[in-house]
Structure formats: C-alpha cells, structure tokens
C-alpha cells in the first residue's frame, strides 16, 4: 500500500499545481496580453467608460421602440444566473390528467404574439418562431434576420422614421454563416438597438 500512497498523494498535488494553478494562470496571462477585450467578457463601454453591456450577452427590451430579444427563463437577462426554461413539448392540459402539448409553452408564445400585435396592429404576418420561444441560455444576444425584419415596421413608426432607413440598419447588422456553412444568420439585438439610438436619437424611456 505504501508504494501506492506516496505517488498518489504527490501526483495529485503536482497535477493540482500544474493543471489547477499554472495552466489557468498562464492562460489568464496570455489572454490579458493578446486578447484583453475578449478576456474580460467583450464589454461595451460608453464615452465615459461605463460598462453598458457585452457584445455577447443579450439584454431585455420591452420598449416597443426597440427591437425585442428572445424570450428568456432568466428574468432581466441576469448573466450571473444562466438557465433555460426546460419546458418539455408535452404536459397536462387539464386537471383531469389529460395529456397534450405543453400549455405553458403555448401561453408564453401567445403572450408574446399578443404583445407584438398590440404594439403593431397592422402587422398580421405569422411571427418568426425564435421570437416566441425562449433561448437555451436565457441570455441569447441574437434573433434571426426574419425576427428582426418582422419588427422593422413597428420600430420605424414609433421612432417616426421611414421603414427603409430602419431596414437598412438591420441589413448592416446582419451576421452571416461562418464560412458560409456554420451556424445561422442572425442579428445582435443590443448592438442593433444601440445603433438605432445613435442614428435616430435615444428613445424616450419606456416608449
């Protein structure tokens, strides 16, 4: 046993130092020197240097003069507590134990559709699916291009701007598939909304 205990203890200590301290600290050092912006969370700062978001983390928007993000399980997009809804496709549809499509999913989608319709009664197109579903992280910074174009009419009207000008802004913020094949085309909602404010002036608080 003795010939096992010593190597076990020492090797655990040695690998703890190597993999648990040296490795992450060396990576911290490399990251801080080579990629300082990404290393601290790709933060966006305003002119005064205050942090106003991360390029990679979504923010909640419920002012109709902004583009809206995806639904989320994490109230207010708290990025220190990521979670998905974990709602399954089925569930009980009444208290007699009858099974069917998950009513909670249906209700949150319907609430979102109602809110979109109430803010823009003239738009009766079907709503792109990513706008009525919750993301995996609860912090999704993106929506699909379809979901962005869907909201152009409303945002343009509430800001008193021609729809073409707002649509042009969305075009400028389209991100395509990497190498033409990986991932999905998308629009970063926070960056788009910041660009809206830059171009057309800030929106009144809460519309």
């Amino acid at each position: 046993m003795k010939e096992t205990i010593r190597p076990a203890l020492v090797s655990l200590a040695v690998f703890t130092v190597l993999c648990g301290f040296v490795y992450p600290l060396v990576m911290d050092g490399i990251a801080a020197v080579v990629f300082p912006h990404q290393a601290t969370g790709s933060l966006i700062r305003d002119r005064d240097g205050h942090v106003v978001g991360s390029e990679l983390i979504g923010q909640p928007f419920d002012n109709p003069a902004y583009f809206w993000s995806r639904l989320t399980a994490e109230a207010n997009y708290d990025a220190s507590n990521s979670t998905g809804t974990n709602l399954g496709p089925s569930g009980f549809v009444n208290d007699r134990g009858q099974l069917g499509p998950n009513q909670t999913l249906a209700r949150s989608a319907k609430d979102r559709i109602d809110a979109l319709r109430a803010a823009d009664p003239t738009n009766t197109q079907p709503v792109p699916v990513d706008l009525v579903t919750s993301s995996a992280s609860g912090l999704d910074p993106h929506i699909s291009p379809a979901a962005a174009y869907y909201q152009v009419g409303r945002v343009a009207r509430l800001r008193g701007q021609p729809a073409d000008a707002v649509r042009k802004l969305v075009d400028d913020h389209l991100e395509g598939r990497t190498l033409g094949i990986l991932g999905e085309p998308r629009v970063n909602v926070l960056l788009l909304n910041r660009a809206l404010d830059d171009r057309f002036g800030p929106s009144k608080p809460n519309g």
Binding site: S42, N81, R112, A136, E184
Partner: protein
C-alpha cells in the same frame, strides 16, 4: 433537414477524421514511450515528476497493482474535491463571496468529476468559487480523462504481450498523456476560444447598465434546476415585450425599483472549457454549459468545441490500430462507432426541424428559410439554430461528454430520445476518452464469443483466446451500468414524493427527465434534462452512487481482462478465425451493441419519449 445542416455535419466528419489520423499516430508514440517534440521540451519535467512521486518509470505493475493505484488516486482526488467545496468560503480566489457548497451537492459533484461524468447538480457561476473551478474541478477534468485513457492502454498491451505478468505503470500512463496530449491541446484550444470571445480572467463579475431599464421584478431565486417560468398568471401590459411580468402586488403594495443593471459573471472560463470538451468531461463553467454565449460565443467556436468532443475518442481508434500493428482493426472500430452514431444524428435533426405542437394553433412561422432556422427553437440559441444543436446533442451523448449547447429537456420527444438511447448504449460510440474504446472492445469480446458459439469454435480476438474468465468480466462491465440505471430510475419512481417534487414537467416527459438523469449518471455522461432538480438528497445521493458504480465496475473488470490477456500466448490466425477487420465483424459488433441496449432500455423508453410522441401525434 436543411442542405446547410447536412453540409455542416459532413464538414464535421471530414475535419474529425483529418485531425484524428495524425493525433492518433502521435498518441501511439506517447504511449509507447517514443520521443516526441513535446517530450524534448517537457522531458525534464516528466522525469522530475517521477522523482517526486518516488517511482521508477520502467517499473511495471500487475493488473491488480495497476487497479489499486488507479482507485487510490481517484479516491484521493474525490476527497480533495469534496473538501475544497465544503471550505470554499474560507479559501482565497472567491471574488463573488460564494458560500460553502451543500454537503449532498458537494458529494455528488466530487464523485461526478472524479469519475469523468461531470453531472452538475449545481449552477456553476452561482455555486463554485474560482478556486474550486480551477484547483478542484479543473484538475479532475485533466486527471479523470487521463485515468480513462490509462485504463485503455493496459487492455491494448494485453492484446500485444504474451506470457506477461505486468500491464504497465499507472503513474507513467497518467503522467505522459496529461503532459503530452491533454495540456498542449487544451492550451491551443483555450487560446482559440479566448480569441472567439470566451472570457479568461481573474475577475469575478462585471455590471452593465441596461439600455432599456426594466420594470421592477425582483431577480428570481435561481437555485440550480429551478425553473423560472417566463409566464405568470398576472395580467400583463400587452403593449410591452412580454419579457417580464409586472411587479407582483403581494410585495407590500409598492413596486420594486426598476432593474437598471445586468450582472455578468466572468472568470477563468476558456481554460476550463477547453479541457472539459477535450477530456469528455462536459462540466460547464456556467449553468447552461456551452449554450452560454460566453462559453460558446460563435458558430466557429461551436464547431471547434463540438469537434473536440469526439476528437480524442475517435483518434484513439487510430492509436489502437498502430499499437496492435493492424491499422485496419482501428478503422473497423471507428466505423462501428460512426455507424452507431449517424442514424441518431439524422433522427434528432429531422425531429427538431419540426415545429413544436404547442405552437401549432398560433400564428407562428416555423418554416426553415434563408432568414431563419425555423423548427423547434425552444431551448436553442439563435446563432446555432437547429442543425448545430442537433449535432451537438447527439455527439455529446455518444461521447460521454455531456456538455450541451441547447436544452435537451425542450427537445421533441423523439429528438430527445436519441441522446437517451446513445447514452444507454453504454457510451461506446466514441464514448469517453479511453473509456469509449475499452467499452467497445469489451463488446467486441462478446461479439467474437457469440460468433464462436455459432460456429462451435473457441473464440479468438486479435490472437488471444477468449475464455470463461474474460466473458464473466465482460458481462460484469456491460450489465452493471444497466442495472444501476434501471434500478435507480425505478426507485426514483417508487419514492413518489421525490419523483414528482423534483420535476418541472409531468406525465411521460417527467418520466423521461428521471430516466435521463439515471442514464446520464449511470453511464458517466453528465448531460441532463435540466428540468429535474438534482440537488435534493435523493437525486444527489443516488446519482453519486450510480456514477461511482458505473465507472469503477467497468474499470476493474476491464483491467482484469487486460491482466488475463497479457498472460496468454498469441495464437496465429487459422482458417476458422473470424476476421475482425471486415464488414462482417462490424455488422456483428453493431448488432451486439444495439441488441444489448435495446433489450435493456426499450421498455423504459416506451414509457417516456415514445408514449409522449404518440400523445402529441395521435
């Protein structure tokens, strides 16, 4: 299925093989002690380590000594992880002031990381300090992966040696892959991930001002696994975005102040993510693992992380081929793994591209087009869409990785069944690093045994006679995890209160959550149907036991087989020997794996995903 989706998957397969061939050759050199470039640089470090350990690298062990060394080393690691979690409030590198971890969760987590499972009964960013993430969990990410590989290598030596009493030195087989394989690959991957946007810093939390301040809803108590429903029964202002409900009236009649700030957890993320992907660990830095935009920011980071899941497990097939002197044999095993995986990728991809039945009566556009991924987007990220999510969910469960980039709980019934079934096959389609291949070799022993029974000859595999002792050990290794999973799930359902309280979904989907939890832990995978609250006494304890049993009751019989095979002579192939490099053997092996999995798990799957599918599509 969309054309770009299929294109992504084909590109994935091509790059995987292209990287796997040279890596496999390199790993063979590492394990056979040949000089590599890394060894010329780190050789002195390796020799210093052996002096510190007090061992001679050329002093080999019998299979029993090797097994004891592995067990003692793992047990010590588990104890250290437990203690560090229990003391984290009093230790440095805790910038967010997190409390000591609950003992049940700490036990579960310690076993989980020691066994290369990385089941997470906690939310990373809100539970574990930087010290615990790096010095406890990060270290186990390396050494539990190296242990998995260190159990495979004696088995390979068992096939190549004759009349040998020893199978190698555990300390050497632990040290060399950590220094020469896992660390270099992790450093390269971590630097790439930081470039893509994954944080790597000693800071703890940033605070950002929200562009659109939100009406006051107090932040929810986000206990791990707690479901914070975006829906409430309060009437809402229908002109607003519907992200938050209005302030609830039961707060003393006054509105809570508006939310103007967003906390953003950062830390040493990239270094952790790199090894958890490469070492088939899977334990995310953040609660939602690689669905988190800071853990997996871009489609390219997603592609590379997803490649890393299968990279070492796949490349080990080439290593195996080189070490036994038959590259064709390695390729036959890799083809077997791929045949087991591909149909499930296709099933999940096809199912997830369908719109959710819950939205069918609403005015929703779920058709895939140039402007949107469409399909079942609940629990999926917009940058990843359907295809990248489906590929990840199946590869992460085929390998025993268990990190996720989408929420499996929100998958369609059959889309979510693929991950369950892939894990239930015993993690042998790629599987964990090392453990996947030794698991498949054990199935191969069973396959040649069955073939031998059919033609009435003593079965042989790679020149070694397969006899009663090997078959007993192989049966152990295959049946013990099955028993752990099914007994655990059945017990959870019997304990009625436990069963229903921990679930966020009910009916057959609730059963799927329970089944998933035990299949995942009982096969050392670690992914979850996240709706299950896994931090309670029952699930934390039962899960911990399952992970323990599943890991070590495969390792012990595997090493026993290695020891037994090493003692035997090598018989030259005769006309009656089943060739084990051709299509006949591949089909036989695929059949054995599928049959054992199906016989064990189809009844349970029928109660969960299958009945749920039939309910939704009558």
């Amino acid at each position: 299925m969309t054309a770009t989706g299929i294109g992504q998957i084909i590109l994935y397969a091509i790059v995987l093989v292209a990287l796997g061939i040279p890596l496999g050759a390199y790993m063979a050199r590492v394990y056979t002690g040949q000089a590599t470039f890394a060894q010329r640089v780190l050789g002195p470090v390796e020799r210093l380590f052996y002096r510190l350990f007090g061992i001679k690298p050329d002093q080999e062990q019998s299979w029993k000594q090797y097994a004891i060394a592995a067990m003692v080393f793992n047990l010590l690691g588990i104890v250290v992880v437990y203690l560090l979690q229990r003391m984290q409030a009093h230790l440095p590198e805790n910038p967010n002031g997190l409390a000591n971890v609950d003992p049940r969760v700490a036990f579960n987590t310690a076993v989980s990381f020691g066994t290369n499972t990385n089941w997470q009964a906690y939310g990373g960013e809100s539970t574990m300090s930087h010290l615990v993430q790096s010095a406890a969990l990060g270290v186990q990410n390396f050494v539990s992966a190296a242990t998995g590989m260190a159990v495979l290598i004696p088995l390979i030596r068992g096939f190549t040696r004759r009349h040998a009493d020893t199978v190698g030195s555990f300390w050497v087989d632990l040290t060399r892959p950590t220094l020469y394989i896992l660390l270099p690959l992790s450093i390269v991957l971590a630097v790439f991930l930081v470039q893509q946007g994954v944080p790597q810093t000693t800071d703890g939390k940033e605070t950002a001002a929200l562009l659109d301040a939100q009406p006051g809803t107090p932040p929810a108590d986000a206990r791990p696994g707690t479901i914070v429903s975006p829906v409430d029964d309060q009437p809402r202002d229908a002109t607003r975005g519907g992200v938050n409900g209005p302030a609830s009236p039961d707060q003393g009649g006054r509105e809570s102040p508006p939310v103007i700030n967003q906390p953003i957890a950062v830390g040493p993320v990239a270094s952790q993510v790199a090894i958890k992907q490469l070492g088939t660990n899977g334990g995310g830095y953040y609660n939602v693992k690689s669905a988190h935009p800071l853990e997996n920011p871009t489609p390219l980071s997603n592609f590379v992380e997803c490649l890393s899941i299968l990279l070492i497990s796949g490349a080990l097939c080439f290593t195996f081929g080189r070490m036994i002197g038959s590259r064709k044999q390695g390729i036959a095993l890799l083809v077997t793994m791929a045949i087991l995986l591909v149909p499930f990728v296709a099933l999940t991809l096809q199912q997830e591209q369908q719109p959710s039945p819950a939205l069918s009566s609403l005015s929703v556009d779920a058709q895939a087009s140039a402007l949107q991924p469409g399909g079942n987007m609940e629990g999926k990220e917009a940058r990843l869409g359907i295809s990248a999510s489906a590929l990840w969910s199946t590869t992460t469960t085929a390998a025993s990785n268990g990190s996720v980039n989408s929420m499996h709980d929100s998958y369609t019934p059959l889309g979510g069944m693929s991950p369950i079934f892939l894990m239930a096959l015993g993690e042998v389609s790629f599987g964990g690093v090392g453990s996947g291949l030794y698991g498949l070799l054990i199935f191969a022993i069973v396959a040649v045994f069955i073939a031998g029974l059919m033609v009435g000859r003593t079965p042989e595999f790679l020149g070694k006679k397969i006899e009663a002792y090997e078959m007993k050990m192989a049966s152990f290794a295959i049946l013990v995890p099955v028993a752990a999973v099914l007994l655990g799930a059945a017990f959870a359902c019997l304990v009625d209160e436990t069963y229903t309280k921990a679930l966020s979904n009910h009916g057959p989907h609730g059963f799927s959550e329970v089944l998933y939890a035990f299949v995942s832990q009982g096969n050392n995978n670690g992914s979850a149907f996240g709706g299950l609250t896994a931090s309670g006494t029952f699930y934390a304890t039962a899960g911990g036991i399952c992970m323990w049993v599943a890991r070590y009751w495969i390792i012990l019989p595997t090493l026993a087989i290695a020891g037994s095979l090493a003692k035997k002579k090598i018989v030259p192939p005769s006309s009656g020997t089943l060739p084990t490099t051709g299509p006949l053997f591949v089909v036989l092996l695929v059949g054995v794996v599928l049959l054992v999995g199906a016989l064990s798990f189809v009844p349970a799957l029928a109660l969960g995903p299958i009945v749920e599918h039939l309910v939704l599509h009558p």
